[in-house]
Subunit: 365 residues, 2 copies
Amino acid sequence: MKLNHFSVSHVEGKSRAGLLKTARGYIETPVFMPVGTAATVKAMLPETLEKIGAQILLCNTYHLMLRPGEKIVNQLGGLNKFMNWSGPILTDSGGFQVMSLSKLRELDEKGVTFRSHIDGKKFLLTPEASIMIQETLKSTIIMAFDECTPFPVEKEVAEKSMKLSSRWAERSKSSFKGSNGSILFGIQQGGMFKDLREESSRYLNDIGFDGYAIGGLAVGEPQKKMFEVLDYSTDFFPKDRPRYLMGVGKPGDIIGAVLRGVDMFDCVIPTRSGRNGQAFVKNGTINLKNAQYQLDSSPIDESCFCYCCSNYSRGYLSHLVRSNEILASMLLTHHNLHYYMGLMKNIRELIKRGEFTTFAKQFFK
Amino acid sequence: MKLNHFSVSHVEGKSRAGLLKTARGYIETPVFMPVGTAATVKAMLPETLEKIGAQILLCNTYHLMLRPGEKIVNQLGGLNKFMNWSGPILTDSGGFQVMSLSKLRELDEKGVTFRSHIDGKKFLLTPEASIMIQETLKSTIIMAFDECTPFPVEKEVAEKSMKLSSRWAERSKSSFKGSNGSILFGIQQGGMFKDLREESSRYLNDIGFDGYAIGGLAVGEPQKKMFEVLDYSTDFFPKDRPRYLMGVGKPGDIIGAVLRGVDMFDCVIPTRSGRNGQAFVKNGTINLKNAQYQLDSSPIDESCFCYCCSNYSRGYLSHLVRSNEILASMLLTHHNLHYYMGLMKNIRELIKRGEFTTFAKQFFK
């Protein structure tokens, strides 16, 4: 019998506010995980991440197995000590990045053979290898190894892929040791097809995981399509397990997904767009490269109380962005992540007060 | 009569410990000024600079007049407000960078005509323009406009250039208003020739400045040559004014220059080398790109108590450098500037205790 690590404290419609217990502390959900691909959230100090309310970070297994290699991370104490972050860390399985970044990949029943995009070195990634790498990294939440189907995809292909992912999920579970108190999440696939999503979930539920992710979304489909899939996908999971929508997303995507019962998110948008000169404001984003901000003495957002908005004008940030200064990335990433952390906190409080549905309706108007 | 802004509290040989009063607060000398070329010390937050003991920053007039333009900086409140740094700021005159960075420059009695290295736009920089730009930027310490002679240089060329710089120094002084309580420094030139250095100083002393810089060094000459020039250069200045050696240097350069009576320094070495993966340690620098550090769990320097050394291993830093992560620049710049601030603090204390000469002898052994 598995100890349940997740408790839902408030429900409003399909939206849930809950608490996920990990070996590295509690996580209040719904939660957004800043992406720290190579064991660093780009341009952020870990202590600043903590200060702005980040509860858990995501690191990418594919990048870390290639550089510096999981054994080096392990010998330097594991991911937490390595990157000076004491809270929980979720690692993905590497499957998604192998397919999108590596060269000369070949997929068969066993796993994926590929060449590193850094130095061309050959690797074989299997469910067993992925789990072992994630345990060697000393990850807190480990993801099963899966194949992520693209969009659009023929049903036949989606079905074949989903069944392979299901067998890989079983092999992932079998090889998972749970050393360091880590927990294991399975990943639902099935493209945009309800019956495949349901079948995928049945496989996963039979195997039994500590949490369930929804994969194969945020792969280029329109938001409407994603919401259609989410309308039923979360229903196929047990209510007492956290649900994680991988790679999502913009604020509207997150609000819509929480409305449909999702608890966890990760996305490069706040960090990457910060490095590109974009800043989140109430009604979208502004691009600080635009000429109109060069003489603007106001902060990015008058109502924001982050370090960036408390001390710097749009005019100065515009200058930093135009000059390709590192400080531009530092300040804009800080602001954008502060925005995301504030959004998630707001969502949690609204659910607890039973006001989230009204807020979401207002938002989509 | 000019109010004297500088007081020497301790003298040991030619070395001095003193206090420079500026409109933005006191500066303990000998002091090192981190370089914030485009109104940002690359990869550093201003609050972190303050925390590690930075007393004054240097910004480059050439870069700021081109981007964003001094008028924009002024309209956004001046350099201090613009870049969120409340302490003193020294701006150079732009002369050095015009000659080293710009395109199609033409020098005559009036000044230098050049094209921006950013967009090819044409500018004319004169002593009057340089001073006005620096005042518009609201700089705390303003530098006279000069021509910096290269190394090596024929005596005839050095003499002609020094005399032009002297006339420009007079024009700089005449056009200086001292708005915002700013003070003005003159710059000694004369290549590696003692009589020219003496003549240059006589001109400057006759004009009268709040401080005196030594220009035309750190332009490629060996350290021995620089020390030879410094052996006499500082003697030509009044004892009750601060002396600033421009663009210097490595720790050994600084120690040798303080030994010869210099009070102020600036250099890109700690910041630039940090961005290139180099870190200062007791006996020089280490390059974190080297394979030997990949598995090294020790900090850059066991005896250093900076944020970087308190929290990160050489192994992790090596990974960040190899991955071109922004955090590598942030942490290594932090460590290197902390090292420089510690070095200067140590020098000040040693002078006050009369132990600096012994320390310097030991160092050069």
